[in-house]
Subunit: 300 residues, 2 copies
Amino acid sequence: MNLKVSDIGEKRIVKYILSKCKSITPDDCAVTSLNNDLNLVSTTDMLIQSYHFPDFMDYYDMGFKSVTVNVSDIASMGAKPLGYLSSIALFNDLDWECFKQLFQGILDACDYYNIPLIGGDINQASEIIISGTALGLSKNVLRKNVYNKGDLIAITGDLGLQGLNFYKKIYKQPFAKVREGLILNDNGITAATDITDGLSSELYEMFNGEMGFLIYENKFDITDEFKKQAESLNIDYLDLILNFGEDFELLFIFPKCKKKTLEKLMNFKVIGEVIENSDIEIILSNGKKEKLVNKGYEHF
Amino acid sequence: MNLKVSDIGEKRIVKYILSKCKSITPDDCAVTSLNNDLNLVSTTDMLIQSYHFPDFMDYYDMGFKSVTVNVSDIASMGAKPLGYLSSIALFNDLDWECFKQLFQGILDACDYYNIPLIGGDINQASEIIISGTALGLSKNVLRKNVYNKGDLIAITGDLGLQGLNFYKKIYKQPFAKVREGLILNDNGITAATDITDGLSSELYEMFNGEMGFLIYENKFDITDEFKKQAESLNIDYLDLILNFGEDFELLFIFPKCKKKTLEKLMNFKVIGEVIENSDIEIILSNGKKEKLVNKGYEHF
């Protein structure tokens, strides 16, 4: 039997691609120097109806989400969004009104992020596929792996909400944290990513193999309401917070001395710190320390 | 019964999009001014296995084609390619070796066009979907609708070859005409597009409603060999030439006085001219004049 792509899995496919192609970095966006002063930042992400959109998600929200996932990568680089392109595949039987709602979602998201929709492509497929490309500009960019021992690990907002939403629509759609990314960049912070695939997965992405991360469950400010909702759906609330993703909050690492400055400019929660020991660990609310397992979403 | 997207059709969907979104132009690429001197040119195109790849096409060629279709749009703007991003969806059962061939096709195409592959995304779907984004830079750009009465209409090479290839693999894959686009731009030519959807369709795209086009069948240098191959497959050879597309030759319009200069720099065939009468017509090899019907490929 031949090996199939499902035997390899998404993470190993990506590893293969990175090994074959040195011009791709593991950061959230490609960075292309335009001249001494300016970098073009670009990213593309494809959303496929049966994998990325919950059944109850309406067409407007699909369109909006397709922009958010891409702009979120621009935000995580600390860049200013410049323009957006959207390649859309539709199925024959889709109601024209539904397409119009989907497209309105794309337009409104571009408006929300204050970027022009500048191009795209219409195709035919057996389900809805939206492949977006977001472009941005920045002098400096936030990378994933640049930090020091003793630095603090923080997130811009609550996690797990979109995880719950995948089972039952409770919360509003998330927005990309463009403003926060720009503030981090302006203030000399160097390490950030957006939480697309789950916190555990993103921490492993930021892990540079030299220093470790220690995070604390009780720093997430998990509400009883959230725990109750997860319980009623028979889901482990901590699994939603650590492993689901899709909240598009920024995860960033910064020197302690910048904490007060940042607090004046934006909301965030410190959830842990960079430690000498090269493991990624969590201290649970019951006091137990555990290794954090890399369980983020993986295709195939 | 509700209207379906298949009732509307690709061209009217695109018209709807253009009417709702003034920041999208009908040109092959989006043009974003970076400063007084430089424009960022960007484009995205999605290829879907069951619609865009003939059954016998190998995986390497699929990968290569996905780059060519996008770089061809950069070429038609007369821009210099800068970088390429590729979002790929695969099905579970795809042989790992086939993916490696597909990816090698993408890498080799990027090498051929001398651009770095800078980013992308891996997804899961029921068939292979490749959505590419090509970026380019240019001081000036070639548009579709800028020309004058008496200007000549030309193409950079033979048409219809990839049309035949869709039925039976005879010819090699086409390449995007990057060099030719740059020459046209450097020499002050203002109107060009790439022939993706068929010559008739692209002529209607270039049509500005004020002047018409007259083209001549006997200027295409159609070989007996080509006619014979079409006949053996029971296809009208002229339909292949006028309405198939996918050859990625450039179609451009230029002032007569530039003909000699261009001839020294690149190969092309003059196939017609811009006329006062606002129709698009063809003079067939039998001497008859006919209105050219807009019959290019349309989804849905």
